[in-house]
């Protein structure tokens, strides 16, 4: 009887431990675990890069460039740090 009781206890504890650990796991892109900083991800691999033809452009406009419809496309902020963005149409992320 004593042996059965000990086994039951162990079994219960193991089950509880499993439930408790399962509660720690949070869903993520590739299975993030909620310990410390949260937010990292890995992109799907196996892709090649490139294929940018001569006319393929990704850079920002310099300001004043006409978009479809005739509107002038804005540029990135161009002001100095601490001195504001330099007015609309200027440049950048700033960071």
């Amino acid at each position: 009887m004593k042996r059965v009781s000990g086994s039951c206890k162990l079994g219960s504890l193991a089950l509880l431990a499993l439930v408790a650990l399962a509660a720690c796991v949070v869903g993520g892109y590739d299975g993030d675990v909620g310990v410390g900083y949260v937010g990292g991800f890995y992109e799907p691999g196996g892709y090649e890069y490139g294929g940018w033809g001569g006319g393929y452009r990704v850079g920002p406009p310099r300001g004043g460039e006409r978009a479809v419809g005739g509107r002038g496309a804005p540029s990135i902020p161009h002001g100095a740090r601490g001195g504001g963005g330099g007015g609309h149409g200027g440049g950048g992320h700033g960071r």
Binding site: D32, E43, E48, G53, G59
Partner: protein, 307 residues
């Protein structure tokens, strides 16, 4: 009687054990809140620039190699943060501009280290809900970091991954990035129409269509009267590449930077080339394979478009 007393004692013990286990689990689960990340602006800016790229995190399996590579390439320095030995701040001239996050490569399908782009929002929960409502996914639910603010990781309808951040002290001001800082971000997608609609809904972007011959689907996403990011259709052989955000660091010489990157164990994916803004840009990969861009930007650059 003795037996029932023993049973009762056992039950009490088991309940206590269970409580203890749950307490430990809860503490571990709550650990993200214990990571001390600095505010994006110190002193607090109090500014809000929804849709602006305000941060980037590299996820990599090898922190030391990343530190060596980016430190030598851009002059970045690094600082550990309390609460997580796997997260390191990247600084330029003492100002934080990015994070490096060490994480083991998952087993199974091929995975690639990448830079995660953070866009400014005022309400992370609302952004999460809007993303889900318009075809996106929540990859990492919102988490709070006491000084930095609240953030979540999302995927857009095309599958490109990005993060949203409601910075506690406000967003960084708008100014021209210095060499070594992030200056521009591009989103390369399969379905530009659907994607512009999605991002417009989430961030209220004003969208400019810069379509031209040889560059048929190129948009600029703007807020506050500034270009915040570009959105392009993936090149014609787009099946070779997963939709993704691509962040550019400002450099003074893209050719020189590309050469240096090779010497440090990196690769050149798109060789330096003249782009719309009149300066050169290139796409590189660090030793772990994470992709990033470098871009020249000079006030003396020609404003003529490259032929």
């Amino acid at each position: 009687m003795n037996r029932s007393k023993r049973s009762a004692r056992n039950l009490v013990r088991q309940v206590l054990c269970a409580t203890l286990l749950y307490a430990v689990a809860a503490a571990v689960h709550a650990a993200p809140g214990a990571v001390v990340l600095p505010a994006l602006t110190d002193p607090a800016s109090g500014e809000r620039h929804v849709g602006k790229v305000i941060w980037a995190d590299l996820v990599t399996p090898d922190l030391d190699t990343a530190k060596h590579f980016y430190g030598a390439l851009f002059g970045w320095t690094f600082r550990d943060v309390p609460g997580d030995p796997n997260y390191t701040l990247v600084l330029l001239d003492g100002e934080p501009l990015a994070g490096l996050f060490k994480k083991p490569l998952p087993s199974g399908p091929a995975a690639q280290p990448a830079w995660l782009t953070f866009l400014a929002v005022t309400d992370v929960n609302a952004a999460q809900a809007a993303a889900q409502q318009h075809g996106g996914k929540v990859l990492v639910k919102a988490h709070d970091y006491p000084q930095r603010g609240r953030q979540a990781v999302l995927a857009d309808p095309d599958g490109a991954v990005f993060a949203v951040l409601a910075a506690k002290g406000g967003d960084p001001s708008d100014y021209l990035a210095a060499p070594g800082e992030w200056i521009w971000s591009s989103l390369l997608v399969k379905d530009p129409q659907r994607e512009t609609a999605f991002y417009k809904t989430l961030f209220g972007y004003d969208v400019y269509d810069l379509a031209s011959e040889g560059d048929p689907q190129h948009y600029v996403l703007s807020t506050d009267g500034f270009a915040r990011a570009g959105l392009n259709a993936l090149p014609a052989d787009s099946m070779r590449r997963h939709p993704h955000w691509l962040n550019f660091v400002r450099v003074t010489d893209a050719v020189d930077t590309a050469k240096k990157a090779i010497g440090l164990g990196g690769r050149v994916l798109v060789a330096p080339r003249l782009d719309r803004h009149g300066g050169q840009l290139a796409v590189l990969a660090d030793p772990s394979g994470a992709i990033f861009g470098v871009m020249e930007w000079s006030d003396t650059d020609t404003k003529q478009e490259p032929k």
